[in-house]
Symmetry: C2
Subunit: 306 residues, 2 copies
């Protein structure tokens, strides 16, 4: 099965603390790497967790709070120093291109490879990217500045044809293709062999929803319903519900409540406030509402199998 694996590079909210870094994650889908947000220190953590940065072709920036993009200019500059040739596409809200340009122009007179900034509207639910493996859609968040999450959903896999059936019925290449796409098979003698006798069911399409900074909002539930893996920020503990609402962030129990209502398989929580040194209580609180929860801490890896 193709890889579907998430690595956490940064777990903290705005103020780095206790060795925790600001937000960044890498999703590996079929050995294509997608970088989600890029807080300060992302390039160091890519090295630390042995992720091949050259494999990243697409970067998704949820919003322009510094803890989600201050590491981008360093990463882009390092690519240039390393002689990158591949184009890089950055999906981001308006304004980031100017921020990068002013710095790279001052620092190095620009970058030596193509960078395309694809401006997204964080308030809309839209498909912004697709390739042979997957489709990415925006998930509008409720935050203090325009902000969106991203939903990664694999494209439907093809059915697998049973090798012994190819031999048994002497099926030619053209018919194999048709059967993989769902067709029945007609033998030389005119008998119809139903598709389900010839194939294994297609592996299911996997999905990951990245819900970056947001207040508690049930408006995202229809978008993220039934995903395999949900990352939802949980900046505060339950006791700080009012502060969370005021700062347009979420608590442990609220994040878990979203996971429950959206019937997801597994919940990851992160974006922890610097006021908390220990994180155990985050897990305990979230698990009270949604059992299959884990902490999205630096270096953790979460794989989704079919």
């Amino acid at each position: 099965m193709p890889t579907f694996k998430l690595t956490i590079l940064g777990s903290n909210s705005a103020l780095p603390a206790y060795g925790r870094f600001p937000t960044a994650q890498v999703l590996n889908v079929n050995e294509h790497l997608y970088l989600l947000d890029c807080g300060e220190g992302t390039q160091m953590n890519l090295s630390k967790y042995e992720i091949r940065r050259s494999k990243i072709r697409h970067i998704f920036i949820s919003h322009l709070h510094g803890d989600h993009f201050f590491g981008l200019v360093g990463l882009l500059t390092s690519y240039s120093l390393l002689g990158r040739e591949h184009k890089l596409t950055i999906f981001c809200p308006e304004g980031l291109k100017e921020i990068i340009d002013i710095q790279t122009n001052a620092s190095s007179g620009g970058l030596g490879y193509e960078v395309e900034f694809q401006i997204i509207d964080p308030n809309e639910y839209l498909t912004i990217f697709e390739n042979e493996d997957l489709e990415v859609t925006t998930i509008p968040m409720d935050h203090s500045i325009p902000c969106c999450g991203f939903l990664f959903r694999e494209k439907p896999h093809k059915q697998k044809i049973l090798k012994e059936k190819i031999a048994e019925y002497n099926i030619d290449f053209e018919n194999i293709r048709a059967i993989k796409s769902g067709a029945d098979f007609k033998t030389n003698s005119g008998a119809i062999i139903p598709n389900e006798e010839l194939t294994l069911p297609a592996p299911k399409s996997r999905s990951y929803a990245y819900c970056s900074d947001t207040a508690y909002t049930e408006s995202i539930i229809p978008i993220i319903e039934n995903v395999d893996l949900l990352y939802h920020e949980a900046t505060f503990l339950d006791e700080s519900k009012e502060i969370a609402a005021q700062k347009k962030h979420t608590t442990t129990k609220e994040a878990a409540n979203i996971a429950l209502k959206a019937k997801v398989q597994e919940l990851l929580i992160g974006h922890f406030s610097a006021r908390y040194k220990e994180l155990d209580i985050f897990l305990t609180e979230a698990k009270e509402v949604f059992e299959n929860t884990q902490l999205a801490t630096e270096g953790s890896i979460f794989e989704v199998n079919n």
Copy 2:
């Protein structure tokens, strides 16, 4: 004696590698902290090495290559989140203010405390700052973009009067002040007691020269002559002399040669190229020319005593 202590936060050149961070150092003079350059990750390393960032009131940026300033916006933003009230002064070349402003405006609508950018001319040898403890002058470097180092020199200390002499001659407060400034003392009987009999010599003024990115240039020698501590970049090993010259950087032996010719007490080398994993050979090569050399690696502390 007042503190005079340097802590290294980043030792690497442009491309972070092997856990080495881009350039940043903190000089503590009499418990005032001065930050020298601010590469990506500086704020994390301030925490890691337990340096009280709130004590920093002055930041000196040598030039606008990213590995010397990409960490600044994160540090400034964190100060804002921590509710900083004290003014911060940043000495830097033209262009940095705009780079910081565009980012803090997008991210947080500005900073909640006063930041003054004092534009320096990196090509001039000038005193840019002084207070009761010290004087800071620029050291023009020979680099691919305008760049300067900084010389920190303590102001002359006063002589210490010997307590037993105060008692012996019953010296009053006004005369004590005069003696500390170098005067002799006239007793009631009219005898002249020479100053050197009444005092201990003043502790000598200590000095630190920070020579950030530069090609080998002897033009800096008259400025840094006899300093107690010299940091001089040594991006490359001796074998890469031509590459160093081409990229306007320095080798181990060249840095050591500057230390030798400038008759400094101690040499620190840093800004190591990412092409080198091991650093022992840097030290060996430099010591062949100037014995009292040390590697300026992350977390190292160098104190200067009187």
